[in-house]
Symmetry: C2
Subunit: 193 residues, 2 copies
């Protein structure tokens, strides 16, 4: 299996093809199925039906070999497949950085969005190819595919920022993103997570 | 004049058009003329002729409004114009990060290269649209336009890394990039800087 390069990391040319999910050279790849997103969608019955019906892959995260270590600046490409769970669009688990540091997402393909929440206030950025979403330090973030094709973005983040998924389980993300006649709509989080 | 946003920075959608040099919304823009690159090209007489003949702009750096502060992850777009100074391709001043941290360059347009030097060993990465050059902590870096069109790239770097231009004046970059029959060639730095 591909892995991160051990330090010291040497200068490196990395290609992220917007038409494929992999970096070249490639590092670790994480695949998240619907079963990995337990408790995150509002409709638990719809989640259970999807889990029982083949447990589909919701998204994958393909990293470059640059390691998640202090002073390094790793990158990854996330691909979220199109679809919904009881009307709520497929999305990432979402996380907060335990060591608060900024991150950027750069749209590569498809139509998505970046949902942000600082514990008090939610925010939303429409993402498309060429658009950068800036995630300031202290804002939890989740990506959502609101289109009918795979939504793909490049992430660049400080190697020491870390990932806290439990924060989102406990605090939510302020909003949920639902399929609607107009395409999608944001609704307040509610209590049904 | 556009400036960096004061902290706390809020979530932000930023567009970098590969066909223009500006971010939208835009932060500070730095313009470097040949007179700003004194002592960096090997051929001092050719440099003086260019300076006297209109002092052309060699490159510009257009930042987003994300500030160069600890914990933020600012970005900029650099455009290097095509041309050479006595056969040595137009290039950036080059710098080292006083606080050693990684940085990425993402090719947007044109044909360029990323010259790196850690004080002992030089390295070179061919850059084209879609290619990421990874600059590990501790490596000085300079960009070079080796084509006949503007070479443009997006930089993403930790806000606390800083810029030390004097390091390159004192240590050089290991190699110089010269126009050649095949396009370009790298030659050892030599003593004529």
């Amino acid at each position: 299996m591909a892995d991160f390069f051990p330090p010291p990391v040497l200068p490196l040319a990395i290609r992220f093809d917007p038409h494929t999910a992999l970096a070249e050279p490639s590092g670790p790849v994480v695949t998240r199925r619907i079963s990995d997103l337990e408790g995150l969608f509002a409709d638990a019955a719809a989640w259970e039906r999807l889990r029982a019906d083949g447990d589909p892959v919701i998204y994958s995260v393909a990293s470059s070999p640059v390691p998640e270590l202090a002073r390094e600046l790793p990158q990854s490409v996330t691909t979220i497949h199109p679809g919904d769970c009881g009307g709520e669009f497929f999305m990432t688990k979402g996380h907060q950085h335990p060591d608060p540091q900024g991150e950027i997402y750069l749209g590569l393909a498809g139509k998505g969005g970046l949902l942000l929440f600082n514990g008090e206030r939610p925010d939303w950025i429409d993402m498309s190819p060429g658009m950068i979403g800036y995630i300031p330090p202290g804002w939890a973030h989740r990506s959502v595919n609101v289109g009918s094709e795979p939504y793909r973005f490049l992430a660049v983040y400080p190697g020491s920022a870390g990932h806290d998924y439990q924060w989102v389980v406990e605090h939510g993300m302020g909003h949920r993103i639902w399929r609607s006649a107009a395409g999608f709509e944001l609704k307040s989080f509610g209590g049904s997570s």
